[in-house]
Amino acid sequence: MFDAFLQGFSLLLRIDTYVYITIGLTIGMFVGAMPGLTTTLAVAVLLPISFKLEPMVGIPFLIGITKGGIFGGSISAILVGIPGTGASIATTFDGPSLTRQGKGRKALEMALVSSVSGDLISDIITISLIGPIALLTLLIGPPEVFAIIIFSLILISSVSSESGIKGGIAAFLGLGLGFIGTDATTGATRLTFGLDALNGGIPLIPLIIGVFAIPEILAAVESRAARFIDEHVDMSKVGERLRWHELRGSIRTILRSTLIGTGIGVVPGVGQVVAAFVGYSAAKRASKHPETFGKGELDGIAGPEAANNAVNGPTLVPLLTLGIPGDNITAILLGAFVAHGMRPGPQIFQEQGPLMYALLLSFVIANVIFLFLGFFLIKPFAQAMQMKKAYLLPLILALAFVGALSTGDTSDIGIMVAVGLCSYILRKANFDLAPLVISFVLAEPIEYTLSQSLLYAHGSPFDYFFIGRPIASFFLVAGVIWIIWMTVRNMIRGRTSKSAPG
């Protein structure tokens, strides 16, 4: 494994990787700064570009968009109090107050340094731990992989909605969509409804673009406002730069939040939003002057920003070692890996070890580029927030269509539009679509690993899973306990809210 790590360095010696990382970071920051647009949208729409590049260029390009997007969300959160992405909601608690006090520039630079530090440290932790974890995953077989996938889907579904019911429905809908086409175990075609276009199943790219791009375009036209943000940002009044002593005062907060984000990132489904809130509240609890939080405190920026970016690296651990995406972005990344002929899972570090390490190391270098680029781009992107929808939305629409057409089949446009319109309706009914996409990409591994497990079980699946395979039984039992706990908790909450006055 260490040899693979060393060989990975030699794959890093190419300029195009860093050019595309820079492009990705720039696009990500721009999209993240727009409150109506999400990082997921940018990654989904630009996914086809990565297919046409080598893995060592295309995948870092997507990672660049993600890293830049999460930070970009903090620009509007700090300057006008509107979070560009969900991950920057906690940044709005102190950001606008700092801007009003004439410390907007300090807040933006604190967000940048915290984001880069959180991301960098978590990437280094990920690189250190992923090799041993990958070796451990080689010891497990199909029953364990199946059980871990099911446990992950239960977690993802339960955190995606308050009761977990809608998350569960979305997950099962995703599985249903994933089962369309040719059955991997028997070769029979199913659920095609007589349409030849569905023989190979629903293609991933039109589905991803349909789920993430079309609903955002439709949601953006709900309001006829010409811009996403109407407030004028005067960058000449954002104050002085961040001083060293101010940064030094927040180092403990940054490190604490980085560890929080790293821990949360490993758990599928929890993600950046939760990490940012936990990072913020931990910073407040540990502060000697918690009363200043919410009134313009630099630690209130450092806490959530370090935590939300620290999630990026560890989310790759379940993706690369088990093939389980923990959120929307990693589900799209899984698609990118598959398109490049790599199937993340227990074998990938054995088969493509140097490439995997090279990719992870490129993410570390991306953070350095991110730091320098961020300092230069904060100002122009703060002004770009006021760009007119009339230019942005048609461009996104055209790019979405190009993305769907990149499969080379014009019928995929129909799939993208149909999925997009249905996704908009589901989102209006408060369904989170992350479990749908994640379970869609996991449908084939679920079917394959369960089929194999049942064959090994020789007609006694219960004994095989619960007596013969303790790790598998642990995850299955943990999943059941989690569902019971969620149900009981919802019942107690329901009774409490009924008995509460008013």
Binding site: L53, R224, P394, L397, L405, K428, N430, F431
Partner: protein
């Protein structure tokens, strides 16, 4: 990834949730029951037996559970649905009219593509969408509508080798190809 509690956004949202939950419950239930008829070839006899590993097994299990959970959601929404006096539908008409118009534009754009090709379909779609979104200055509108398809086609087709469809009408297709050839001649 938090959803808002059922009915919190008013009775209209709760009714939409209820409608969707019923639709999913019925659709998934039907697919679970009728799954053997949706297998095009092979394995149908075994598919009748639920416990056998067949192309029917996993989809049936999945759709069956979808239907079951959707029924639980339907019951939950029915219990929390606001009272009769608040059951009037209060959708913001103008807001959703915009969404409807945009949806129609997207569908028309998709339908135009095979006939007009990427370039001309995108030119028309971008022009109409930009106008719909409030751009009334003709020069920027025209320039943006022309530049978007040309630039995207050039970047994706010439630089990234992503093939985009040409018009079925030869003169349009030839014009687009000549334009791309001209641009390629400038840059390469």
């Amino acid at each position: 990834m938090e959803e808002s509690p059922i009915g919190q956004e008013g009775p209209a949202a709760a009714r939409l949730e209820l409608g969707i939950a019923i639709l999913i419950a019925l659709g998934a239930g039907y697919l679970a029951v009728a799954m053997p008829t949706f297998v095009d070839e092979g394995g149908i006899q075994q598919a009748q037996d639920f416990l056998r590993l067949s192309p029917v097994f996993f989809p049936r299990l999945s759709f069956g559970l979808t239907s079951l959970i959707s029924i639980i959601l339907v019951i939950r929404i029915m219990k929390t649905l606001p009272g009769r006096e608040t059951r009037t539908l209060t959708l913001d008409g103008k807001k959703y009219l915009n969404v409807l118009i945009m949806s129609v534009l997207i569908v028309i754009y998709a339908l135009m593509l095979p006939f007009f090709g990427y370039g001309f379909a995108t030119l028309l779609a971008v022009a109409v969408t930009t106008y719909f979104l409030g751009m009334r200055a003709w020069l920027p509108l025209l320039a943006f509508s022309l530049v978007t398809p040309v630039l995207t086609r050039f970047i994706f087709e010439r630089l990234l080798a992503i093939s985009l469809p040409l018009s079925r009408y030869d003169p349009l297709a030839e014009f687009e190809q000549e334009l791309m050839g001209f641009l390629a001649g400038i840059f390469f």
